[in-house]
Amino acid sequence: MTAMSPRKVWAGSEGCQTWDNLTLIFTNLIIPLRIRSRVVMTPVPMEIFMDPEKLGINFDHIWQKTLTVLNPLKPADGSIMNETDLAGPILFCVALGATLLLAGKVQFGYIYGMSAIGCLGIYALLNLMSSSGVSYGCVASVLGYCLLPMVILSGGAVFFSLQGTIGTVLALVIIVWCSLSASKIFISALDMEGQQLLVAYPCALLYGLFALLTVF
């Protein structure tokens, strides 16, 4: 029976006759019934965890977007924000929290709260200012990616205090860097030529809040 056709097995179940019987029952009875009632479900084979592509995580795109953020002078491609990808932003938020933790500040809650509410505010503003609307996921994705320079700032805060003149100047530079990248991507994705400064300023205010969190 087991040689009838190649069959994927769960790890640790090779050679078990009972398991083979159960698998047969499952594949021959239960799945067909579910298909007839149009419920599309199947047990997830182990291989899916070896292949993040299947989960929708495209590392190449994540890397492309990261490079776009790190170089604020490079013109952005408007189509890169067509897919809403939150894996990168969530990773950067956790990285910011982790670097703040290294500096002795446990402020994960503030980061998540400020990100959520800040994204909501920018989402409302961009919907009002752009002729075509924008989705919340797209806004969250762009703002999350542009948080990367702030992670670099908080990494620096681990080694030296930012509460002097140098720290203030560095924080200002990082805020300008983040907001320029974010506004550049928004402008190219939403086709809002000539309004980059108007979009950059609210982003700068948001990133300024994160900088306050990092510096103090």
């Binding site: 069959r7 594949t27 021959n28 298909i35 007839r36 084979p45 200012m129 300023y201 300024g208 103090f216």
Partner: protein, 347 residues
Amino acid sequence: MATTATPAGGSRNGTGPEWGGFEENIQGGGSAVIDMENMDDTSGSSFEDMGELHQRLREEEVDADAAAAEEEDGEFLGMKGFKGQLSRQVADQMWQAGKRQASRAFSLYANIDILRPYFDVEPAQVRSRLLESMIPIKMVNFPQKIAGELYGPLMLVFTLVAILLHGMKTSDTIIREGTLMGTAIGTCFGYWLGVSSFIYFLAYLCNAQITMLQMLALLGYGLFGHCIVLLITYNIHLHALFYLFWLLVGGLSTLRMVAVLVSRTVGPTQRLLLCGTLAALHMLFLLYLHFAYHKVVEGILDTLEGPNIPPMQRVPRDIPAVLPAARLPATVLNTTVKAIEVTLRSH
């Protein structure tokens, strides 16, 4: 993957070759999703189709019987028969009407698009309006033009929030009842919305020609002066400098707003009431922001250093450098009161 069709009603072995098609599709590609197009169940197993058809017909009969039986009972909230049916229909209609009204109201009021025209600005326009908000125009015979937009005022209010937060953080202000962020946002938005509404109400009483949107825009742009003064004086702790800026910059932006209102109001009493109220509130707000959210620590240090140092002499200094490692916790009110005490006692 089509298997050969068996004749209708033909005999089949239970787990015969027809089932092989399903298995192949499940285990191919490692995908978690079955491609329904290829898995169409009319792929030759007509025996199953016949069985399913029969089952469905039987189920429909049962359902029809049950429905008929239920209708005969017609119970609805304890009322049987015709009354039950009628009440069910009425309840249904009310539910539908209510739902329709609610969705219409929601789409009308929660429609953010009604604010869209007020955010249609160019950077050059915003820049010029910011500069004009500091320049009073002495034209009182014709109504002065007010830009009816909300982007500039909203951004200025948020900037004021950020400056307040920065000031509170650098001076180690401790808010006992609430959070720093909540206090800052509440203060700034409360002032902008509350004073705008109050002045609009007074304008209505005094018969002034101004709309709520224009009042919001006017007061919002008037906060530009406040932002400048606070940005400078939160970092340079000289009281004389603050009073100078308060009069100059605060005064200029207040004069600008007063001139606009005077040009849109008729009658000396009404003008006096409206403009006096606005001027008082605007100037006092700046005074309040400076003294309430950036506590004066110099007062304590002056008393500690001894009586030789004249109390009113303030020097700009870097707070973290002077303070010892343990920060001095003190509430805002206590410190201000102590500073005033020291000043009074020395005279």
